[in-house]
Amino acid sequence: MVDFANIIAGFQALMSMETIIALIAGTVGGMIIGALPGFSAAMGVSLLIPITYGMSPIAALTMLVAMYTSAIYGGSITAILCHTPGTPASAATAIDGFQLTKQGRGMEAMGVATFASAVGGTFSAIAMLLIAPALGAFSLNFSVLEYFLLSVFGLTVIASLAGDSVIKGIFSGVFGLVLGCVGLDAITGVPRMTLGLIQLEDGINFVPALIGLFSISQVMTLAWDVYHGKKGSVIEDEENLKKSRRLPPYKELKTLFPTIARCSIVGTIVGIVPAAGAGVSSWICYSMGKRFSKNPEKYGHGAMDGVASCETGNNAATGGALIPLITLGLPGSSVAAILLGGMMIHGLTPGASMFTKYASTTYGIMIGFLFANILMGLIGLFAARYIARVSAVPMGYLGPVITALCIIGTYAIRNNLFDVGVMVAFGLFGYIIKRCGFAAPPMILGMVLSKIAENNWRRAIILAGAKGGMLSYYLTRPISIVLTLLIVISLFSPILMTYVDKKSKENVTI
């Protein structure tokens, strides 16, 4: 049931100057980060987290989710105008988008991508407003055992974040869990793996680690690129773009509405599935768009509905991924894992409390996400051409500025120089593991979920001891049994998702 009272409270909470500025900054910043090839939404969100420290939770989280959705959209700008997908989620967009640019219809394709992204994102935000409270209310029935199983469920995503090597990805995730164990043990108070350093007794701070893993390692890659002659992207036929219209004629735009509607639904559902994400969603929607298209032969040669389908799909997946994140603490993608860390930093623990104690904040964030998508559409329609230019900025200027931002951002968290050292060390570590084929997102997920999993497990053991043993305790908890089944299904879902993704790509190439 729709909780109008909390929606109004959330809306009122959103209407402060701080939140409005955060919303605009997150949206524009996300579009710029997304448009920069090599810079991902994950990097943008991780760089932004320290800046949000001094903000209220609602302004901070609104800024982060705005950055998330608009970075996914921003990737399409350079995919269409420069044939360089800004993020992996816009790889499918480049196929038809760039063909349209070559045909002199780049701005129209950009307009369709903007419109489709905004509609897909807005649809997923509405779905979140409708589904999340019900799921949140259900989580009231959870005890420590269910929370332990939920964190295990979250960890099953690791295989899907693993990158090229599943084994190395799992190793990375398990190592993240070990890193999460560093510090004083929550139950016995014994220091673990602190190497005698008093600063490590609080544990390894998650934000410096992720800034190092994502941003400093990326600066190191940029330096290598500069020395190997890699330059910024070039906008194709820029003179012609200035003259062309921002959207196709209404008659043509109208034909895209069914595709956009279908992909909004599918994209949101795919986003909810833990093993999927914006990238998988865009390929599935692109493949589906081709199947339903009246002119499938145009796909790959400049189909406007090709652009609409994948752009709707990837942005709809962002809202979808936020639903299990907010309600159950289950991150569906690497960015969602980082957002989970951001939520915890601001004292928001996913679950039932998000819809009781922090209801106005939660609704404010969800409405903020909805507004971010609308704002992204409006700004995108008028400014996409100018935003595309950032992709041409030489990497030699960007790298040092990002380094300086990493240092100040990390220091600002707790005004602590040790954190900066941790960030620098994780930068080198991130670069080396990337070179060796280990993905960083599973490690982050492991670090975030480690304490939740361990503490709830040990509490569950204590509780089970008082109730006649773990097995009998487990068997009296039907939700735990369902969650165990979900864990088993989720373990196999990456195989299914890889198959679906592969099939979608095959359908595209045929």
């Binding site: 800046i51 420290y53 001094g54 084994i167 190395k168 799992i170 190793f171 398990v174 190592f175 869990l177 070990v178 164990c181 043990d185 139950i187 016995t188 014994v190 673990r192 793996m193 190497l195 400093i216 600066v219 190191m220 890659t221 940029l222 330096a223 290598w224 500069v226 020395y227 030489p394 990497m395 030699g396 200027y397 790298g399 040092p400 500025v401 380094t403 300086a404 240092i407 100040i408 220091y411 600002a412 005004n415 120089l417 900066v420 050292g421 620098v424 930068g427 080198l428 670069y431 080396i432 070179r435 060796c436 084929g437 361990e454 497990w457 040990r458």
Partner: protein, 154 residues
């Protein structure tokens, strides 16, 4: 056909050493506190052995089919120099504060990353420092220069 051990074999051994280190670090802990790290250490050990196994399988391939080396001099030289500069920047930051150290680092790193126009480099440096000072020092009250040897001397 020339053959050599695939890099994953070496990577696997490093992972194995890391797993053993986790066991050693948790050796003297009470069993309650040690169970999770030891369990994870065990999992890492198994995964390391699988990585080594995969590496040995890949070693059967000819060298040309084994792919580029992950940690070759070419892949590491420039990134390591860049990281070295970041470390120096960190040391300078601790010693002389953020504004001065950043002013120096941006110029040095931009020049290192082949940004040739002095005018653009200096302009970006100044604009960045002004923005950061306004946002972090003024708005967020982050004490970006109130520490280090320089502040003690002053």
């Amino acid at each position: 056909m020339k053959k050599q051990l695939h890099q994953d074999v070496y990577i696997g051994f490093v992972c194995l050493a890391l797993s053993l280190m986790i066991f050693v670090l948790n050796n003297n802990l009470p069993s309650d506190a040690a169970i999770m790290p030891r369990l994870l250490g065990g999992m890492m050990m198994v995964l390391s052995l699988i990585i080594i196994g995969h590496g040995l399988q890949k070693s059967k391939l000819p060298i040309e089919s084994q792919g580029a080396k992950a940690l070759s001099v070419d892949a590491m030289k420039i990134p390591l120099i860049t990281w070295g500069m970041v470390v120096l920047y960190y040391i300078l930051f601790a010693a002389i504060g953020y504004i001065l150290s950043t002013g120096i680092m941006i110029v040095v790193l931009m020049r290192f990353m082949k940004s040739t126009s002095w005018f653009v480099v200096i302009t970006i440096d100044i604009i960045y420092l002004l923005l950061v000072y306004f946002v972090f020092a003024r708005m967020l009250n982050v004490p970006i220069d109130g520490f280090g040897m320089l502040s003690q001397l002053l």
